[in-house]
Symmetry: C5
């Protein structure tokens, strides 16, 4: 559950615009890397002092600054003032509890989204807060931790493969967002397989722990929905190309990403329906089991309780109890008992209880 | 459940635009067939080399190229470059996990939809990924497997019946889509009959396996919804005729297809309501059954437990137990027992338990 | 359930535009009647040959052609070619499984709707497929069976009462649609009374068959919704008067019909809420009953089981069992038994089980 | 339930425009009263003959004609023809089963709404059909019964207090509608208190009748929703001031009424959520109770059934049953019994059943 | 529950525009404070006579008048007439049962919203009615009680920190609203932690009181939704900047607040989903528990009831009962008993009941 709540108390009572990192510190040290490229050259280096970034802001080459780790608010602030970012947007970058959003400001676009991954024990789905600042010739990406989702983009740049070197910052941003969204499918696949497994369990022999697994899966879906749903509108805004920063040739690519997001949402809805269907099956299987148990109890009781009474009767110590002295009383008792039991069984058979 | 998830792992880490066939290989060999016709002539042949298609692109005759089998990505790629298809659209054609969509690009329209059919054992509903590229004078259809849904269109062309020979590529596309949508009704009919059968079972004597069948039917509906729902918007786009490739005279036909899709969706909603209604009836029938079973147990127990106690009392071996010596004790015991049982039965009768 | 599915298999594999009657043949023979009138004259006759209709198409008098019975596709086809109806619209007229729709074509409007009635045993709600073709000076109505819903319109024309003789074909169409919609209220009233009856049963002493009746009522509502809901949009289109064929003075009348449809839909929603509320009450009444039954069982068992044990103890045949020889053992046994039972009853009283 | 259905059979088969009063006759005699005022004078009188109203139609003074009782259709008809009301609107006025609506006609606005009140035994919520015809200088109100909701408006006019005397007919209409809507809050308060009472019962000791009360409350909410919901759109139309009859200064007042309606709807939604929450609590309280009852049964049974068996064993009459002759057998029996019972209790304690 | 209903009876029958304080009197005495500032000076004082405010209305300095306590209707009225507030708006200010709304009037904007806080025992969420009147150079805030949510704004003004001194009344209003909305996050955090706690309980060992806590949490969510939901539209209106009183530079700030409100609503939805998921888990845990209990009962009964019968048989006093005299009868009895019990246990093991 902890993933649903981010402590905001740290910020209580502070005026708006005060930069506070909300969330857990996930990286030891903040790592800032820069990749600067155009069709001819490529330069990669680690940034120690933020001011090194400044010259790259207005060059015609494409610069990608990646910040991994958000707890160093001063670093973020000075980067922000370098690139003229609005203080409220810096707050959005630092607030890891915030939801995906898009802000089309003066000369940059801020895109906030969630990177999803499976924790190492591969059992829990977690989300990482990711912000992209898309400028004319630069993209700044802020992430909580240095991860490998962006590796395929780095490779593309290094290899000079694909159209990337001929395209602008908007195409770079597209590649980054596409990498994040593509990763959603992997997460969805894992969830889907878990649901598939459960389906067989529920249709077979559900046990007590079944409900816990269904509960967890539902919980995962709620978390995924919360993380992904607002992205739809964000990408839709990018795709409609209302900003000058997104060129028309890139719009078709964002439209493709948009389709992927829609497909993820669709799949989430389908999964939710499947789980709810499964829940119904589980509950009625509980009811069915209950019926079966009580049926066994009832069959045994209704057969033996009258017979026990009868045995009790002839166990009575009345002085004048004529049957006790009859010679065939005992065999007759057994005959009667068996007949009664048989009748009961016949009735149950007719009621389809057996 | 497997039909709900398509393995996307194959594509993990690849840059966008890389063509990968996602899904199972359903045809042994990719079969490419061409039908070229106008009001005067008709030519049908199997294509071995994709370049044979090239001359048909710009002729005034209508050409229909049908590709059955999607695993030969190179073939799709070269066909794509022949006809100038966008790489992202080729990805859509190959990704059998994608959802129905429409893309109105430079000089062609891409329509992606799902063909539905019953598997041979007629028990499972499956979907096939179908893509249509509608150009000025040509239609390219990509399907996973060579099927017979399009046979009626082939016949129409061969017989020269109907308006088809006087009409353009848009009308051909309409006929293909119409054939697919008409087939939905057959699938719906099968589902409808299964629901009808279940209704009788649930209202009659539902058993343990009933929930499994309801579960399967609900699962089918979820699958159908997922496959058909997005088509609504797709056809609506075609029908509004925003593209030059769809002529006004064809719009009324697409409107008809649109109505059919709406009707299928309507029927799906109705089926879902019927199933949910059925589920309620099933669950309360379980409760009713439970009540009945427990009632039998209670009636037997409440009648015989006190009597057994009484019999137990007179089975006690106390030296001073006056009743034991009474002469009429035994008949009185029976009288009392029968009276008690009768009273209980009267009470149950009054409670309407009997 | 059969009313929810219409066999479409008959049409499988046929090209679009092929006329096939989908549905059951409800009338023995197709009856075509004509009423032609203006403010001065009125002419009524039965039509044998469809070509007799032709001259009435372009006269300034209002002609109402009523076709009862849909299985004679040739007749419909020739009537269609007389009046220039689009083949797809003829299909709509013949497909009794189709949903209500409106088509505003070149020089006529096609309105498809459902006439609702109670079957003769007054237990089942059924729907009849009705299509109206509204032209400049004529209205053609296609129904499955000759019924008496339109009698009030026929009377109005014959009596020359009302504004009908001064008005045009649009007003005639309004009268026909209004007659159909007014009839919905009668059907709704019947359903409403059945719901009212059930409400008393559920609040009183619901039995096993209660769920069957609720199920049937819900099923009826689903059917009504399916039949009426799309009409809303149809009438809204007519009322907004986008076609030249509907004059402004008639729009206020269609607005009135629209209000009636909305009211029927509103009532359907209310009924659905009432039924779902009833279902909740029914289910918790089942639970309550169960509690009551089990309570009786528990009270009897917990009182007598310990006592039976005690009786069993003093029925043991141990040689050294001191109590057996005590003089007051038996009365003490009874005292203890009664005291135990009394204590149990007191506990149950405190728990409010009694 | 009767309040949900109005008999419409009376109207079956009649042509549109035929005036029939649908609903119960609530007033003995139709009472028509007139208040005519401007800033200088005020005149109040009872109207015997409808034609007395005629002169007031076109005077510059504001005239308010109130008709209490709807069964005299002739009176309504002649009033209608006096003021030029459309026959369909007269039908709306007389059909007490109709829903709230607004009709902006040539030179008047018809507003239909529902007045809500508690029946005298204060247990049932009922609705009265109210129609307002708002003209340039007059307002005609039709109600089913003479009530006291409008008294505060009458007082305002008589006292000459407030802005009323300087304002027009639209302000008078606002005051009447405001009086009706304000009264909704009183009804809501009563319902709210009943819900509050139930909440305590459900959280405390719900009994068998609890579900009946919840059912009734839900039923009330359905009725309130049905009566009030359509009003939202009605007032919204008035507030947007599309008619010339509503002056701009009055719009801000209608906006206030609109806010009140929204608030009532909001509260209805909140109540519905609270009731559904309560229902969940009630159902799980039933389950909990069931568990508790069965737990008691199980504890008693599992403790005493084995012991009874043991006692039965030593009650057997086998000739060779060695234990019977042991000297300490009886005390050992008790020790074993108590030990077994203690063990069972310990197990139950561990399972938290105790 | 009391928080859901505000007594409106006090107002019954009064004409619109009559000022009545609806709600509880929360402050002993009404406290009116004034802060007047521009970039150069700052003046703070307590207001005794409302007329002292008048001169501040039209000065170019920014004046913030805070009214804590709403029961002094005369004070509110005279303040209203000082600043030209519409009587209906004064009603909105005094009606603490009203919902959040925005009114864009002649020369001021009225914003009504709810301040949320935890009651001192920190167990209950309560709401305070807050109204802001935003004029050209002044903001008047009406609250029910003097609280500390605005303290951070007061500090900002006093310290001259931030942009506040250079900005206008719209920025002051933004700060006040932002303080209120930021506080929502604290309330949400408390609720979230309570939900987290419950999740562990439900997944662990839910008891009888569990449902009470879930019920309370749901109730809290309903209350939060009711209080916050309408605010969304209110802030959206402010952010779209349709009023001249909100300058463009402030719009980006309101957009930020809007995002916060959306996030709160999102979180509420997520919480609701989590609770509903939890409820499902709780109910099926009840069913599971029931199954377990009944299973124990059934196992014990089905094992011992037949054995007890057998013991009863050999406790019978028939004279001719051959087994009684067999030498090995007793050990055989035990063997049979143990064998029967073993068989039953084996069956239960196979059924997975053990």
């Amino acid at each position: 559950m902890a993933r649903f709540i981010k402590k905001v108390s740290a910020k209580a009572g502070l005026p708006p615009g005060t930069l506070v990192h909300i969330g857990e510190r996930m990286a030891e040290k903040v790592a800032v890397t820069l990749i600067d490229y155009d069709s001819d050259h490529i330069e990669e280096r680690e940034i120690i002092d933020v001011n090194e970034c400044l010259p790259f802001k207005d060059t015609s080459t494409i610069s990608w600054i990646n910040v991994a780790g958000l707890h160093d608010t001063e670093l973020v602030e000075s980067l922000g003032s370098c690139f003229g970012l609005h203080p409220l947007h810096l707050e959005d970058i630092l607030n890891t509890g915030g939801r995906p959003k898009i802000e089309d400001y003066d000369d940059y676009i801020l895109v906030v989204l969630k990177m999803l991954y499976l924790t190492d024990d591969s059992d829990e789905i977690a989300a990482e807060h990711l912000s992209l600042v898309i400028g004319k010739n630069y993209v700044i990406s802020f992430q909580e931790e240095y991860g490998d989702v962006f590796d395929r983009v780095r490779k593309l740049i290094r290899n000079g493969k694909g159209r990337i070197k001929r395209e602008g910052a908007d195409y770079l941003a597209y590649l980054l967002i596409d990498a994040v969204v593509d990763n959603y499918f992997n997460v969805m696949e894992t969830v889907g397989e878990a649901i598939e497994d459960m389906e067989e369990v529920v249709m077979g022999r559900p046990g007590r722990e079944t409900i816990h697994v269904i509960h967890k899966l539902k919980s995962d879906l709620i978390f995924l929905r919360k993380s992904i749903h607002p992205l739809r509108e964000v990408i839709s805004d990018l795709e409609r190309g209302e900003s000058d920063l997104i060129r028309q040739t890139t719009e078709v690519h964002f439209r493709d990403v948009y389709d992927h997001v829609i497909q993820v949402m669709d799949t989430l809805d389908t999964y939710r329906d499947i789980l709810s269907n499964m829940m119904d099956a589980y509950l009625s299987s509980l009811s069915n089991r209950m019926n079966e148990i009580v049926k066994v109890l009832t069959i045994f009781s209704t057969i033996f309780i009258p017979l026990t009474f009868l045995a009790g009767v002839y166990g009575m110590n009345f002085r004048y109890l004529p049957e006790l002295r009859w010679h065939w009383a005992y065999p007759v008792f057994w005959l009667v008992s068996i007949a009664l039991a048989g009748m009961m069984l016949a009735v149950f058979k007719k009621k389809k209880w057996l």
